[in-house]
């Protein structure tokens, strides 16, 4: 077990393991943040601080990386992450209607989490399933050839 004792995450052995796994290696900040985010679904401030301390980097640098990339969340997310594709192919084939439908079904705006904490709606540039546009992804599952009606059906499964 690691010795680091700087925030609440220290109690979490998974977090310590992640830190130790990347100890002394180069270019590890992004994978460490990715793995650390898997634990709670987001990166609380103390986690970012603990990572900065462990790797002997200024907090500003780690915070700068965490805020640069779309994947990192600094606020808690819902149980399920919905990504509605906003790529060109989806745009041309009515992706906006899908986004509107998700927003109205869950009563959220892009970037928000539903009141019951079940879903977070995140923007995504392109999911790369353009042949089936419009598409969306819930967690790791991609749904293609969507219609507003299908969205209701799919959301009901979660």
């Amino acid at each position: 077990m690691g010795k680091c004792c700087c925030g609440s995450d220290c109690q979490d052995s998974r977090f310590t393991e992640i830190l130790e796994q990347y100890k002394g290696k180069d270019g590890v900040l992004i994978p460490v943040l990715q793995k650390a985010q898997e634990i709670k679904g987001y990166l609380p401030e103390e986690t970012i601080r603990a990572i900065a301390d462990y790797f002997n980097k200024p907090y500003s640098e780690v915070y700068g990386v965490a805020t640069f990339y779309a994947q990192f969340r600094l606020k808690p997310s819902g149980e399920n992450i919905i990504r509605v594709c906003a790529g060109t192919a989806c745009h041309v084939r009515g992706g906006k209607k899908i986004l509107d439908k998700v927003c109205s079904e869950l009563n959220v705006a892009p970037g928000e989490t539903s009141a019951d904490g079940k879903f977070s709606l995140e923007p995504v540039a392109c999911l790369g399933a353009c042949g089936l546009a419009p598409v969306m992804m819930i967690n790791d599952t991609t749904y293609g050839r969507l219609t507003p009606e299908k969205v209701t059906e799919i959301l009901a499964k979660y």
């Binding site: 990192f72 192919a89 995504v124």
Partner: protein, 597 residues
């Protein structure tokens, strides 16, 4: 007991008899005798098959061929063609009885006819999670050839001679890039694969990663040998979880067989391959930003030179190519540069994979020889526009590219012809648009994308794209002013020439291309406050056609702001002052009486 080669079953059920099966049976006996087949083929009378409307029914065994509506005149043909020569008579087959012969071959299907699958040659044919299937299709033979029969210089010369150019965007000659990295001084060098396929509308790299990961691994190993590197990185988007999984499996299997690791093919060449997952930033497709991201920093680009070939990952000489470029390499080494350079146009050799999407009938991936025309790709491979609507434009090269209008559809596509048309090859996304697309709104869409993805490091890109986006938003809202077009043009020029990296330098392209070919649409928005495609909500107006409206009140009931009034069974009216242009009425109307303008 007499042994027959085949049996002819003739239905003697009531239905078939009524439609003449007895006569068919008699004629069959005659014809069998006439062709001396009476001892080879046996006639069997059967009961009803339940297909009486298609009678008389004749079934030939052992093949089980099902003929229907057989007439006396057809019998001779069945005997001569089928029973004697073994060729079923197609015109008499029931349509459900499909023989292999009748299924069109892939090479005859429109979607594949004009394709030339080299990079995608294994995708859809092998199990990507089993290295042996790749090896069975000549996999790793090119690596063996390079390592055991060629010097690194010969490999570079071969790639140069093939004419291969970078498939990720710029189209820089791959062999030359390798040469720079080889010539750079340094004891440690890196090979990097840019698999951060971020262009919305492009997914060819994903398909290769998921469908043929070993082609990439082999291509990278050959590149590493050529430039003198022993370690590589594949930078993959986090949005491609399946691709990451299959790459991990492929790398592990290659290691197990000694195709990665130490002393590959006993040549003394070592190569280690790492995967780096991206974290969602479009700008990381730019090579210096990508390198910064691998190093664990913010993915911001830096000024070049020095180029990565001299100062790349951790300051060491590095060579960055994208997935499709690397996947071409094993084929070039295996079959030779002459074969490769024999395909394509003068300055663009080989094939390019295009992702065909949008309002086209057959969406998918099309790999074609360079120099095919857009018309061939969209109308032959793609099958034309959905619902046979009118073609308006095709966006090529994603947010950095431009749109190409109908009058340029016969342009043979290669790197240079696209640049001169105001677009670019980019990664090869082709998004087809029909008459229902507003080109101003499309330009706004792209600017919105590049604006969001701008990393913020340099001012022209960070501030310039924001101002351009503001102007476009105003125009689509009907608040465009005289002089907006000129302002857009001048901003575009500045941003293109002063931005730090490719993202900013190409960000104005969609605006410039739409202005070049669809200036009238901009003018209609600004001067007449009208959206010709009827897309921009703020400029739309709904009205009811009196002759079509039957007064069912459906529209009035769904209108959220009570803007529709009228008596039952009499034509209704929309009050434009109240109307919020939500379009609910048009959806509710069953008589197409509500039009949007």
């Amino acid at each position: 007991m007499q042994i027959y080669r085949g049996h002819v079953l003739i239905c003697a059920g009531t239905g078939c008899v009524a439609s003449g099966s007895k006569k068919v049976q008699a004629e069959m006996a005659n014809q069998l005798e006439a062709f001396n087949l009476e001892n080879d083929i046996k006639i069997v009378e059967t009961g009803c098959h339940g297909f009486c409307e298609m009678g008389p029914i004749v079934i030939v065994y052992p093949e089980g061929i099902f003929y229907c509506q057989v007439k006396m005149e057809d019998v001779k043909e069945i005997v001569e063609e089928h029973l004697l020569k073994g060729r079923p008579v197609k015109r008499l087959l029931f349509r459900d009885q499909m023989t292999e012969e009748m299924v069109p071959h892939y090479r005859d299907i429109d979607f594949y006819k004009k394709q030339n699958r080299i990079v995608l040659g294994n995708c859809g044919f092998i199990n990507p999670e089993n290295i042996k299937e790749y090896i069975a299709r000549d996999g790793y033979e090119a690596l063996a050839k390079a390592l055991t029969q060629m010097t690194p210089e010969q490999v570079i010369d071969e790639v140069k001679a093939s004419g291969l150019r970078g498939r990720g965007g710029g189209g820089f000659p791959t062999g030359l890039k390798w040469q720079f990295a080889r010539d750079a001084k340094g004891d440690k060098k890196y090979v990097i694969c840019n698999a951060d396929e971020g262009d919305p509308g492009a997914f060819m790299d994903r398909s290769v990663l998921e469908g043929d990961p070993h082609a990439l691994i082999e291509g990278m190993a050959i590149a590493a040998y050529a430039i003198g590197s022993d370690e590589g990185y594949i930078y993959v988007r986090a949005e491609y979880p399946l691709a990451i999984k299959r790459l991990q499996i492929a790398i592990a299997q290659a290691h197990e067989l000694g195709l990665l690791g130490k002393d590959i093919f006993g040549s003394g060449f070592n190569f280690k391959l790492n995967i780096k997952e991206g974290a969602g930033a479009f700008v990381c497709g730019e090579e210096t930003a990508l390198i910064a991201s691998i190093e664990g920093r913010r993915g911001e680009p830096r000024v070049r030179p020095p180029f990565p070939a001299n100062k790349g990952l951790w300051g060491k000489p590095s060579n960055v190519n994208n997935v499709e470029t690397f996947a071409n390499v094993p084929r070039i080494i295996a079959k030779g540069s002459q074969w490769y350079a024999g395909m394509g146009t003068e300055k663009s050799k080989g094939t390019k994979v295009f992702a065909l999407t949008g309002k086209v009938k057959n969406t998918g991936l099309a790999e074609v020889t360079m120099g095919l025309t857009l018309r061939e790709i969209i109308f032959e491979i793609g099958g034309g526009i959905i619902d046979d609507k009118k073609f308006k434009a095709v966006q090529i090269g994603g947010p950095s590219g431009g749109c190409i209008p109908e009058q340029l559809l016969d342009l043979p596509i290669d790197y240079d012809s696209l640049i001169s048309a105001g677009a670019m090859m980019g990664s090869g996304g082709l998004v087809v648009m029909d008459e229902d697309t507003c080109m101003v709104e499309l330009a706004r869409f792209f600017l919105n994308f590049t604006q969001m993805e701008s990393c913020g490091k340099c001012t022209p890109c960070r501030e310039g794209t924001k101002i351009m986006l503001d102007i476009l938003e105003r125009i689509t809202k009907g608040e465009g002013k005289e002089g907006d077009i000129e302002l857009l043009e001048s901003l575009a020029k500045t941003i293109k020439s002063t931005s730090l990296c490719g993202l900013g330098q190409t960000a104005p392209n969609p605006v410039l291309a739409t202005l070049r070919y669809f200036r009238d649409e901009y003018e209609a928005h600004i001067k007449e406050k009208r959206c010709p495609a009827g897309v921009c909500t703020a400029l739309a107006s709904y009205s009811i056609l009196e002759d079509k409206c039957i007064g069912c009140t459906a529209c009035a009931r769904v209108c959220p702001v009570n803007a529709i009034s009228g008596e039952v069974k009499k034509p209704h009216k929309i009050d434009p002052a109240k109307c919020i242009k939500c379009g609910a009425c048009a959806q509710a109307c069953k008589f197409n009486a509500i039009v949007k303008k």
